[in-house]
Amino acid sequence: MIDLCDISKIYRVGDEEIHALDRVSMTVAEGEFVGITGPSGSGKSTMMHIIGCLDTADYGTYRLDGQPVEHRSEGDLAVIRNRKIGFIFQSFNLISRMTLEENVELPLIYQGVSPHVRRERVGAALERVGLSNRRKHTPNSISGGQQQRAAIARALVTEPALILADEPTGNLDSKTGESILELFRELNASGKTIVLITHDNHIAGETGRTIRIMDGRIEGTG
């Protein structure tokens, strides 16, 4: 599903070059549940952005579903993000002036799905994360755990094959975090490929495979 080969990402700040990713190679098969850990600043988020087509690598090749992603137009990348990938962030990233329902509906609007079908699928996605009774609420009137569930509903609503989560439990207490993790396990069981970034060794232990990153390089898998 994911095939990274010698991927490098270099940021230049003034005269200094920061190798956020340094010739990283790895593969993730369809249906896998992969955890990525590593200290702060090691390049986890940078890797996830490249995998999620939010950013492009400076060197190396990346194939998603066997298709090379380099040299694709911005419009093509937007379509890939919209149809193949669901993002979940540490800070939830819901749009605060819209209701949960409207937030979850947004990716479907960009897909051009008809209003009737949208309503059905939004309802189903919210149902799945247990937020059917909060559909008219705005993000700032519900708890962090509920916000993260809404964000997961938004990632699920387009039925993507790949879910990318960047420290989804980072802002939550361990009990709430556990319930979110349970949700991920369910999704994985239903066939979705999941890449989850975390600081938490306990959570990393729950995934099928853990990849450890250090200073932009893969240190080991286990």
């Binding site: 939010l54 937007a78 149809r83 990233n93 749009i95 947004l106 609007i109 960009y110 897909q111 938004r154």
Partner: protein, 392 residues
Amino acid sequence: MIFQSFKMAWKSISANKPRAFLTMLGIIIGVMSLVVLVSLVTSATNSVTDQIASMGTDMLTVSVMDDKGNPLKQGDLSEIAQDDSIALIAPVSQASGTVKSGTETVSVSIEGTTGAYFQIQGDELASGRLLKTADVENISYVAVLSNEAAVEIYGDANATGRTLTMSGRKYLVVGVLAEDDSMMASFSQNYTVYVPYTVTERLSSAASGVSSFYVAATDAEYIDRAEATVEQALLSRFKNDEDAFFIFNQDTLAETMSSVTNTFSLLLGGIAAISLLVGGIGIMNIMLVSVTERTREIGIRKAIGANKRVILSQFLIEALTICLIGCAIGIALSGLILAVVNLFASDTLTFSFSGSVIIVAVLFSTFIGVAFGIYPARKAAGMHPIDALRYE
């Protein structure tokens, strides 16, 4: 999709109503000044040109400035009137005089003419009769009074059959004209005494002859032919000297009038358009602020699949929506202002929306929304998703 975009735009605009209203204010004031000013000028113009038209677009006024020692006679006029395009010709000589009314004297204008004059002017009688051919031929001392003159001199309009002493001579009043309620008439007092043309000719110390006359064409569409006929006749009479006489065409007056007022309304419209432009700059300013404030939102939208075009149209439609709502409010307020102006304006003048200015206002607001919305929208669309998501 378009409906969806306007709905989204409305949602983000209504998220901060006071700001949205203040942003719109520039457009509201711009549209209001555009619509009100141009509507006022257009309505006034229309009513004036209507009045001119009601005075007869089938009429010419001819003045002879230099008769080259060969003055026009009534007979010459009859000859000109032979042409098919000409219905009537009436000589007019103007003078002023005083009429004794009890102990007071009234200044009047005296018009020496023939019965045809009243037909050309479309004047109606209130009582008595008009001037007849016999009056003119016999040089009779008879007079027809304008309604105002009769009221001023006798206290009421029932003057037929009474006598009138004007500039030392006695006249018999044979008729009184009906009141003239047109707007032109209300501009001035109309104390006019009409007497046979031959009477003024006899009394005048100057050389005799027709110095000015009115021509009515058989139909408004023959007016140009009538003018050509009169011009031809006078040219051959006055040794091809174009400056010897002057032909005044009501139609030309109406045209000049509307070209002057068109320029005027263009000028006012231009000034109003500048204020709209300033309103547009206000919109651009707020849209730029809004794009910066919503950087994170833009990042989120891009992450879940919005492409450049979608983000661009979102912000463009937002700017456009602000402009069009402002435009609608501006037009509504203009209607209110025109209604208030109408309350205070005279009865003969009604101010109404000029349809074309409303179209211009809507088109111009649309243009401003797009022109000033495009830069902030492009800024939003061009953001890198990661940078936008990192923005705090």
